[in-house]
């Protein structure tokens, strides 16, 4: 048996490394194997170098590196199957929860938000990344890998933007614009100019680019989806009329001979109206960019869809009504009681603060403040405040 010297072993190891075997595990395996072959098969009088050169070709067809490539292929193949399984499961799961969640949302059933949230989170953070990794692995050119990466980021951001919009979370519009920005200014140029150079892919690239552009354009239109201008303006005009009615009613002179109770009622109504007007001023200030005052009509036209600042002004994080709103509700209840005591209008529904039953809202009973102000954009909140102001005036005048 030939006995290998330390220098022979170092030489073999070095040669293995030089030939592209980077995995240490594989280096050890091959080193021992080659040593075994030399020890058992080499005659003592043979030359080491010569013999080594003659046996090495046994290990490969073209080059030694093949063993490492084959090993890596087998190892990734195993992950590949596991990843594919997770991808399909997470994809199916998120699609299912998403569809059910949408149904719940449309029907106003409880649990819709949780379902939508789970569906989109699984889709964005499990399905899409795995899909992207698998697809990137399939591609050879770095340009295609980059494209898949950008497409994945676009898909994740637009899904999150949709989720944020549905959940009324902040920065939804920003995310939405970001995703479209990625699509139009990053993905599309790289895709288009990359594909158009190659005669084989030219036609397909042009057609796909047009489709992407159209689909992106449709999404862009959705960004600011609103009622038609005419309808919008008609609604604003009604708001103006409501404000005019209130102004007119507010200017009505009280008759001179008021009873004590009537005087009290008028005083209370005046105080309450002032309170509501102040709240409206505060609300407008919270919406305008630098917190400046603005005429109500103009503010409504400019910020009719404002949602978050209005809601956070009226309701705390835990959903509790703000002290201002609670105090208005309390005064309103007192006013109603006063009217009921002093007049024939025993119900006085115009300024009722009772809970309101909503058959279209999961048959829930909503509190007065939830019904009129919660989950509504600026224009609805202001319209309801103004209607309330008009109602208070009507009740006060009709009881004089």
């Amino acid at each position: 048996m030939y006995v290998l010297k330390d220098e022979h072993i170092s030489f073999i190891l070095e040669d293995i490394r030089r030939n592209g075997i980077e995995s240490e595990e594989l280096q050890l395996d091959l080193l021992d194997h080659i040593c075994c072959v030399i020890e058992t098969e080499m005659l003592p009088d043979k030359n080491f170098d010569e013999f080594y050169r003659s046996i090495i070709p046994r290990f490969y067809k073209r080059e030694l590196k093949e063993i490492q490539e084959e090993t890596q292929l087998l190892l990734t193949f195993k992950n590949y199957y596991a990843m594919k399984k997770v991808m399909i499961m997470s994809g199916a799961f998120s699609a299912f929860t998403f569809i059910i969640g949408s149904l719940f949302k449309i029907m106003h059933w409880p649990g819709a938000s949780v379902l939508l949230l789970t569906g989109i989170v699984f889709f964005c953070f499990l399905f899409l990344p795995i899909l992207s990794i698998l697809k990137v692995k399939e591609q050879k050119q770095s340009k295609d890998k980059l494209l898949i990466g950008i497409a994945t980021i676009f898909a994740i951001v637009i899904c999150l933007a949709t989720l944020f919009k549905v959940m009324h979370w902040p920065f939804a519009s920003m995310l939405w614009s970001c995703s479209l920005g990625i699509l139009f200014f990053l993905f599309l140029p790289i895709y288009f100019f990359g594909g158009i150079r190659n005669p084989e892919t030219k036609t397909n690239t042009i057609i796909s680019s047009i489709l992407i552009l159209t689909a992106g354009g449709l999404l862009f239109i959705l960004t600011n989806l609103r009622a038609s201008h005419v309808t919008e303006e008609a609604v604003f005009n009604s708001d103006d009329q409501l404000l005019a009615s209130y102004a007119y009613l507010s200017e009505q002179k009280n008759s001179d001979s008021l009873s004590e109770n009537q005087q009290l009622l008028t005083k209370k109504a005046d105080a309450l109206c002032l309170k509501i007007e102040n709240l409206k001023v505060g609300l407008i200030k919270s919406i305008t960019p630098d917190g400046k005052e603005m005429v109500e009509n103009e503010a409504i036209r400019l910020f009719s869809n404002k949602f978050d600042p209005v809601q956070s002004y009226l309701f705390a994080e835990n959903g509790q009504a703000s002290t201002e709103l609670t105090s208005i509700k309390k005064d309103l209840a007192e006013l109603q009681k006063l009217v009921q005591e002093n007049s024939a209008d025993k119900k006085c529904t115009l300024i009722s603060t009772e809970n309101i039953h909503r058959s279209d809202y999961n048959n829930q009973n909503l509190s007065w403040e939830e019904f009129y102000f919660k989950g509504l954009p600026m224009e609805n909140v202001f319209r309801n405040f103004n209607q309330l102001l008009v109602n208070i005036r009507i009740v006060a005048i009709s009881n004089n």
């Binding site: 290998l4 330390d6 072993i9 595990e25 594989l26 050890l28 395996d29 091959l30 080193l31 021992d32 194997h33 040593c35 075994c36 072959v37 046994r58 290990f59 490969y60 067809k61 093949e66 063993i67 084959e70 090993t71 292929l73 087998l74 190892l75 193949f77 195993k78």
Partner: protein
């Protein structure tokens, strides 16, 4: 010597069967044992052996042991508990496969 295509499909089965019958073996030992047992008819190539060994190790079918042999390190492979089950499954599957092939190719089993 059989063609590499024939050996490739049964490589896992051969390795698992050999390893489950002995305590532990190293790469060269496996190739020699197969060569001896088959009278040189089946010769495992190193290019196929080590990738398969590493893949099976990653799958938890095999486990390795490192031993110093003189002036170098030798990696011994042995089957895990899961590996033993897989070995039985593989051998049974292959036996069934042979039966099917005998029937399919209408082969007369050699007597003796």
């Amino acid at each position: 010597m059989y063609s590499s295509e024939l050996v490739k499909g049964t490589l896992k089965t051969i390795i698992l069967k050999l390893l489950s019958e002995s305590d532990k073996m190293y790469g060269y030992e496996i190739t020699q044992k197969v060569k001896d047992l088959t009278g040189g008819k089946i010769q495992l190539t190193e290019g196929a052996l080590y990738p398969t060994l590493h893949a099976m190790e990653a799958q938890g079918i095999l486990t390795t042991d490192v031993v110093n042999v003189g002036n170098r390190i030798r990696k011994y492979y042995s089957v895990t508990q899961t590996g033993k089950k897989v070995a039985t499954e593989k051998v049974n599957e292959f036996s069934d496969f042979i039966d099917t092939m005998i029937f399919l190719l209408d082969l007369k089993p050699k007597m003796g």
